[in-house]
Amino acid sequence: MQALTSPEVRLLVSKEPIDAAAECAFLYTPEAGGIDIFIGTTRRFTGERETVELVYECYTEMALREMRRLVDAAAEQWPVKRCCIVHRVGVVPLAEPSVFIGVATPHRAEAFEACRFLIDSLKREVPIWKYERYTDGSGEWVGSGMQAG
């Protein structure tokens, strides 16, 4: 597990299952009235293809710095009082969360906007890669444009 934490921001990359209760507890603060959370989970079907599990690889040192940069960018646009980004790495079985992003702000509109910004930006910028294992024995690094192997 590697982490970058402060009283307001909690960034974590870990092989352990994500502890939603701990993240929620971190987000609760009397300064905020609205919290928005995005959780990404492993979905079984993508069209006809059936997924067995996902495997995430991470350039952890850079990923934590990029996450911090994104949180700073969010805090410039919205009054972010608490923020956490947790990404699980290694195998993530079906229905389990791979990512948990939470933002606490005074009012709800800001929380929704900042959370959406963070997950969209994370998917574009943070150096984490998803390998999808299918039930037919095949697999691929998602979005790499090449077959694995």
């Binding site: 990404g40 995430y56 690889e57 991470c58 350039y59 040192e61 850079m62 990923a63 710095r65 990404h87 791979s98 990512v99 997950i119 994370l122 998917k123 574009r124 910028e125 943070v126 150096p127 984490i128 890669w129 998803k130 390998y131 690094w141 998602v142 979005g143 790499s144 444009g145 090449m146 694995a148 192997g149």
Partner: protein, 82 residues
């Protein structure tokens, strides 16, 4: 003659067979030069070349970024976290 470390991940790590490659480069070499060396030695990975973003010491950087001894150059193929 900077000694640098190339960091490889996901499909590129698999194609090259390693997650880390040590390189000694000529003085004045750039991040782009380091990437060229890697793809020259691993031509079967060439289709990935145009998709790679470069990071130097954990920050996205331009290919023209001049390298110094001890720099860590990461080749970031399209990310897919979340």
């Amino acid at each position: 003659m900077p000694d640098v470390r190339l960091m490889l991940f996901s499909i590129l790590r698999e194609k090259v067979g390693r997650g880390c490659v040590e390189l000694r480069l000529p003085d004045g070499a750039t991040a782009g030069d380091a990437v060229d060396v890697l793809f020259h030695e691993h031509q079967h990975a060439a289709p990935l070349r145009s998709h790679v973003r470069i990071a130097v010491n954990c920050e996205y950087a331009d290919g023209t970024c001049q390298l110094r001894d001890g720099d860590e150059v990461a080749l970031i193929t399209p990310v897919s976290g979340g």
